[in-house]
Every structure is written in structure tokens, then in C-alpha cells.
């Protein structure tokens, strides 16, 4: 029979592996070319893998949550095109030949699912001692049916022995029937002092974020500095254009866009901040592509505003708005994320006034834009009410030292303080 393998696609230039987050098809499903088969997570992004054939799904070769290398077969498909080409005149007999394997498949699925879960109990009871594993195996006992009486609900040897004594029929009903009197009789097991809460399996984007963060904080020696910036004029500029802008353009003119603009311009002046540590050399990026952090529910995305230095404040505001909307709806793809050279993070959006960003590996720095806060400030020996904002810069200390980082941040500060109603155009 014509059978085709669907391979784990290469979702980005530096991507070598992918994790199947969930399958969108099941064995037996008929799919057309370009129909999505599954969702694959790589570097902070979930992408759908489209089918490259018309045909029927025969077998899923990779379990959900498993990570495989690019090029690994992930499912088997019976393709219609090939079938027709091979046995065109016998097409009437074709369905009957296909039917048995299909029904076999249906039978196989639940049974294979059963064996898969049999030895490893659910509910996080993964601390199985060697003797418990051995006894369960020898006596063909499903540990999921046993209520553990050990520390934190661990299944002890005695729990298994009791189940064996109770016999095979009792094994299924034993936990419910025996558990409650059992627990009453046992005098206060130590485990009852600690009540474990809900457990959330770490999968998908959370897992990707976690491993990326670990990589960043382990590989990159972070240094951090903060400058206070007077954003009063910026606030004035934005307030002046705010409502008319929204009316005319249909999207918000955010403060954040002004900061991204200032950073993009300053990066031109200090290209070292726009570089990347590559082991034996430092690569200075020609393009200024600003990654921005976008949160959607429990997920974190870092889409990229490409060539931000080419864009006006309006252009940046537009992209920020679009990317944020995509992020909230989990519609961002690997392409949206790729190619960032510097990250600006809008931590002020949730009221933070000071924070230490973890650099988005393999970039050289991350800038956190904190909340704009009204504060009394002394100007020319007079106390004035000004809109102040903290800019926090984390740098890769392998590439950058305090001096250049300070110069860069100071230049950003000067740009922001130089915004004025008279001279600044948002277009």
C-alpha cells in the first residue's frame, strides 16, 4: 500500500527539533493537502504542521509532549494519489482491503493506550520504589488502582501486598472500598500534614520559555543598570496626538512606541548593543530588529518589529498593536518571532518601576521600560512635578561593559527627554 511519512518540519533557521504539543488528527482521519496535522512548539512559538499529502492518517508516531529532531517521521499517511496511481482499475476492491487495517487500528489504539499508562500511575505518584515496581510487574497489578498510604500518598510495598492478597477481582474496586476505613485506622500518616495542591504539567510554551530562560541565565553573565528619565515632554507629545491619532489611524499611539523608536535610533549609534555572542566572535547585527514581549494568558511571546529604525513612531505603534493582538489570540508564528536583535520589554504596563530582565538569548541586551510615574523633581533649584520613568538595561557582560551600556542608556535617555511638542512628529 502506498504509505507516506510526514516528517518533523524545519520551522526556522536555527531550529533543530520540535515538540508536538497536540495532534489535531487521529488515525483514520482523512485529510487534504495543507490541512493542519498537529501543533509543534519550538522556541516560544506554536506552529501548525500542514499535511503535504491528501490521504488518510494511519498512525501517529510521536506522542504529544515528545520532542523529536527535524526530519524525524511523525506520522504515517496512506495517500490517495499514490493509491489511485497504483491500483486504478481495482479501485472497487480497494475499500475492502483498507477496511481490516482500519478496524485493527481502532482496536489497537485503546489497548496500546492502556499499556502505556499501566505502570506509571497518574496524579504525580511517580515515586515508585523498586520493590513496588517489581511486585506490580510480577503480579500484573495496575498501580493506578492502588491508594498509597505512604509519605505524600506514595504506594508502599504493603499497599501492593494488600492488593495482591485481596485478589484480582478486588483489585479494581479495592481502592474505593478499602481506602476510607484504611485511612481511618492508620494513625495520622505524616503525609497528611502536607496538602499538595493542584499540579500543572509543564508543557508547550511554558516549557519552551522555561528552557530558554534557563539557557539565558546560565550562559549569559548578566549585568544590570537603571536610569531615571524625565518623560514629561514625551507625555505631552503623546497626549497632544492621542485622540486624533486613534480617530485617524484606528489604533493606539502608545508610550511604548516612542521608547522603541528611541532605542532603535540609539542602537544605530551603539551597534555593540545590537550584537550577539557567538562563542569565538561577536556578531554585530546589521538590521535593527526589536523584539517585544507580549503576554497572552499563561504564555509569553517575543515577536519582532523588523527594521524598527526605518519606521516612524506611527509605524512602530502599528506593529506593536498588531503583534500584541496576534499574541493575545495565540496566532503568532515562528516567523513573527525570528530575527530579533534587541529586546524592549514594556514592564511598565503592569505597574513595575524597576526590574531585571533576562536577556533573550542570543541577544546582547534587554531594555525594560517601567511605569511612567509623576514625581517631584528638582530643576534649577525649584521643585517641579514631572513624569518620570525608569529604564532598566540588562547586558551580556561578555560583550558589553558598564561604560558602553551606560553611554547607550544615556543616549536613549537624551532622545526621550528631547521629544517635544514642537519638534516631534509621530508620522
Amino acid at each position: 500500500m502506498p504509505m507516506e511519512e510526514v516528517l518533523m518540519p524545519k520551522l526556522g533557521e536555527s531550529v533543530t527539533e520540535g515538540t508536538i504539543e497536540n495532534w489535531l488528527v487521529q488515525p483514520g482521519d482523512t485529510v487534504g493537502e495543507y490541512d493542519p496535522l498537529c501543533e509543534v512548539i519550538t522556541d516560544k512559538v506554536t506552529a501548525e504542521v500542514p499535511s503535504v499529502f491528501d490521504g488518510t492518517i494511519k498512525e501517529l508516531l510521536v506522542d504529544e509532549g515528545d520532542t523529536v529532531e527535524v526530519g524525524t517521521p511523525i506520522c504515517l499517511m496512506e495517500t490517495e494519489g499514490a493509491a489511485e496511481a497504483g491500483k486504478e482499475d481495482e479501485s472497487g476492491a480497494e475499500p475492502s482491503q483498507e477496511a481490516p487495517p482500519a478496524s485493527e487500528q481502532v482496536e489497537e489504539t485503546p489497548s496500546s493506550g492502556h499499556t502505556g499508562t499501566r505502570d506509571v500511575p497518574k496524579n504525580g505518584k511517580s515515586r515508585i520504589s523498586p520493590v513496588v515496581m517489581r511486585l506490580a510487574d510480577e503480579n500484573d497489578i495496575d498501580l493506578n488502582t492502588i491508594e498509597g498510604t505512604g509519605f505524600e500518598g506514595r504506594i508502599t510495598k504493603k499497599d501492593v501486598l494488600k492488593t495482591i492478597e485481596a485478589g484480582p477481582q478486588a483489585a479494581e474496586t479495592q481502592p474505593k472500598a478499602a481506602a476510607s476505613p484504611e485511612q481511618e485506622a492508620t494513625p495520622a500518616p505524616a503525609g497528611q500534614n502536607i496538602v499538595a495542591g493542584d499540579e500543572i504539567p509543564v508543557t508547550g510554551v511554558r516549557k519552551a520559555v522555561a528552557s530558554k530562560m534557563v539557557q539565558s541565565s546560565q550562559e549569559i553573565p548578566h549585568a544590570w543598570l537603571m536610569m531615571e528619565v524625565d518623560a514629561t515632554n514625551l507625555v505631552n507629545v503623546r497626549n497632544r496626538h492621542k485622540s486624533s491619532f486613534k480617530e485617524r489611524e484606528g489604533f493606539n499611539l502608545t508610550f511604548f512606541s516612542f521608547f522603541v523608536k528611541a532605542v532603535a535610533e540609539t542602537l544605530k549609534e551603539y551597534p555593540m548593543l545590537n550584537s550577539s555572542w557567538q562563542g569565538d566572535r561577536i556578531v554585530i547585527n546589521r538590521d535593527i530588529n526589536i523584539s517585544i514581549a507580549v503576554a497572552g494568558d499563561d504564555k509569553l511571546y517575543v515577536p519582532v518589529i523588523r527594521n524598527a529604525d526605518d519606521l516612524s513612531i506611527k509605524g512602530i505603534a502599528k506593529q506593536v498593536g498588531e503583534l500584541a493582538a496576534l499574541g493575545r489570540n495565540h496566532k503568532l508564528t515562528q516567523d513573527h518571532m525570528a530575527g530579533g536583535t534587541f529586546t524592549v520589554n514594556n514592564t511598565g504596563a503592569f505597574g513595575s518601576v524597576q526590574s531585571m530582565g533576562i536577556i533573550n538569548h542570543p541577544q546582547a541586551a534587554i531594555l525594560q521600560v517601567e511605569s511612567i510615574v509623576k514625581k517631584p523633581v528638582i530643576i534649577d533649584d525649584m521643585i517641579a512635578v514631572r513624569h518620570m520613568v525608569n529604564l532598566c538595561l540588562s547586558i551580556d557582560h561578555r560583550i558589553l561593559d558598564g561604560l558602553v551600556a551606560g553611554q547607550f542608556l544615556k543616549a536613549v535617555k537624551e532622545r526621550i527627554e528631547a521629544y517635544s511638542v514642537e519638534t516631534t512628529s509621530v508620522y
Binding site: S129, P130, V131, R134, G150, T156, P187
Partner: protein
């Protein structure tokens, strides 16, 4: 059968063997006229004469050296080291000579000596009169190291030790001397060297220990049984060479093992027991092997609260037993 103390049981064993076998004699500091610092040998000199109950100079290397020489001449000396802490000057005689005579002479010679040494704390003996030194000898092939935990075992093991044709180190726990009393068979009572003994049956946890800690563990086990857990207690009795078979059997029975010693934790005899279990019982284990031992500090302090802190006691054992049972 009469109820006698651990100390009296040892005295009985010496008396019985000296009466049985003319080649048996005892020697040590003050063992004769004074009857020993703890009175273990009291009356033996009067009964068997100054040549069979020999007061020696204060020189442990001499006591053991003399014993080895006498053994070469066909005697069966039982040397007393007043406190185990002071055995170190004799270590060279024990490790380099007594332990190796049979091997280096290709079985032509052997060294039937017994070295008795009171050890352990809990009697306010302070630093130099409280140490556990058994591990120093418990890794030297050629030696046998025995630590009895009950009066009956003390008598039976000492008689076996005197009759043994190899050097036997016989460590007596000082606190056990007058604390432990039980009925001890009179006359010819022997306990085999090299065999561990199950002192209590149970199927929830296994406690493996030796010496005074066996008694403490038994007390703790009785208390624990009120909580519904039954502890099996294996008394090693001979800590070198270890009775691997009994250790493996007892550990496999419950799959939960607590090892107890009064010695410092690291490198103690129970570390070796743990290794035996780890090597042989992996698929029978239901919990990590647990150890309860003295802290890794140089020696037992004099101050009573600090001595209590160092010493093993039934409370400490019970708490650890419970932790293991509930694992």
C-alpha cells in the same frame, strides 16, 4: 537460670573457660588484685593464681604483644584493654601481626587471642573513655570483631571467642555492664561467631544494629508497635566479618531498613551494611536506606546534655523508625 548482668555474664564466661582449659589466662592493667577497673575479672586471680590472671604494666602494645607471643607458645590469652580508646598503641600488633599470622605462615601458625575492650558512651566517661573504635579493626581480614548486645550473648560469644583459633576483638559496651540483665544459661553456653541474630520479628521495617543500640532499638520497637508498626530487629553480633546472608534476608523482608550505630556516621560499620543492602537488595527496597548514628564530631563530650546529644537513645530510634515506617 539466674538473672545476671552483662558484666557478670562476661565474668562467668572467663571463669568457665579458665576452669575448663588450663591454657586460658587473662592479662591486662589491674585485672588481677583489683579485679579490673569495672570488676569484670574480680576474684579470678584468687581462684586461678597470679600466673593465670596477670597484672601488666600500662602499655597496651605490650599487653597485645605478650598475648601474641603466648599464643605462639600454645596458650589462649584473653587480654583486657581497660578502655577501648587506649587500644591504639596496640593497633600495630593487632593489624600487622595477630591478623596476619595465619595467612603469612600458610596456615602453619594461628593466633588464638581474645582482646576484650570496654567501649561506648553514656556513662559520663568524656572524651577518652567513650569512643567507639570498632571500625578501625572491622576492615582487616584475619580479625574477628564481636560486639554482644545481651548478657546471654556476651557469655556465649566470649566462650566462642576464647575457643576460636583466630584473633577476636571483643568489644563490651560499658553502659551495658550493669544496665542489662537477663537469664543466662549456666555452664557451657556458646553463641556462634559470624552469625547475626533476629532479636525481634516484624514486617514493617527492619532495624539493623549491634551492641547497646540493640536494646535501645527493642525499646523503641515496643513503643512503635503501639502505632501499629512492627519492626524486625537484626543484631549483627559479629560486625566483622559481617553475616551478609542474614543482612540481605532481613533487609529484603520489609524493604525498609534503618541502620543504627553509636559510632560516628561516616565510615561506620553501618556504612558497609548499607553497601551490602544496596548491592543485593535493590529490587526489594521500598524506601531509601536510613542511618542513625553519632554525629561526625571527634568524640563524646563530658557535659551531660552534650553527651545526650551525641548518644543514641530509644527516643531517637523511635522517631527515625516512625519516619521510615511512614515513608
Amino acid at each position: 537460670m539466674a538473672k545476671i548482668s552483662y558484666l557478670q555474664a562476661i565474668h562467668q564466661a572467663l571463669d568457665y573457660e579458665m576452669g575448663q582449659d588450663e591454657s586460658v589466662f587473662v592479662l591486662g592493667e589491674d585485672v588481677g588484685k583489683k579485679g579490673g577497673v569495672f570488676k569484670v575479672t574480680a576474684g579470678l586471680q584468687e581462684k586461678y593464681g597470679a600466673l593465670r590472671c596477670l597484672d601488666t604494666p600500662l602499655a597496651e602494645s605490650n599487653i597485645v604483644g605478650t598475648s601474641i607471643g603466648a599464643a605462639m607458645m600454645g596458650k589462649r590469652p584473653v587480654a583486657e584493654i581497660q578502655f577501648a580508646d587506649y587500644i591504639l598503641p596496640a593497633t600495630n600488633q593487632i593489624l600487622s601481626e595477630a591478623a596476619k599470622i595465619r595467612y603469612r605462615s600458610n596456615n602453619d601458625w594461628n593466633c588464638p587471642i581474645v582482646i576484650r575492650a570496654p567501649f561506648g558512651g553514656g556513662i559520663h566517661g568524656a572524651l577518652y573513655h567513650s569512643q567507639s573504635v570498632e571500625t578501625i579493626f572491622a576492615s582487616t581480614p584475619g580479625l574477628k570483631v564481636v560486639v554482644p548486645s545481651t548478657p546471654a550473648d556476651a557469655k556465649g560469644l566470649l566462650i566462642s571467642a576464647i575457643r576460636d583459633n583466630d584473633p577476636v576483638l571483643f568489644f563490651e559496651h560499658k553502659k551495658a555492664y550493669r544496665l542489662l540483665k537477663e537469664e543466662v544459661p549456666e555452664g557451657d553456653h556458646t553463641v556462634p561467631i559470624g552469625k547475626a541474630d533476629i532479636k525481634r520479628e516484624g514486617d514493617d521495617i527492619t532495624v539493623i544494629t549491634y551492641g547497646l543500640c540493640v536494646n535501645y532499638a527493642l525499646q523503641a520497637a515496643e513503643r512503635l508497635s503501639k502505632d501499629g508498626y512492627e519492626a524486625e530487629i537484626l543484631d549483627l553480633r559479629t560486625i566483622y566479618p559481617l553475616d551478609k546472608e542474614s543482612i540481605i534476608k532481613a533487609a529484603s523482608k520489609t524493604g525498609k531498613v534503618l541502620l543504627v550505630t553509636e559510632d560516628n556516621l561516616e565510615g561506620s560499620i553501618i556504612s558497609e551494611v548499607a553497601a551490602i543492602i544496596a548491592e543485593n537488595c535493590l529490587y526489594d527496597l521500598d524506601a531509601p536506606i536510613m542511618r542513625l548514628a553519632g554525629p561526625d564530631v571527634p568524640s563524646m563530650p563530658y557535659a551531660p546534655p552534650m553527651e545526650d546529644f551525641f548518644m543514641i537513645n530509644p527516643d531517637k530510634i523511635e522517631a527515625k523508625m516512625k519516619e521510615l515506617a511512614e515513608h
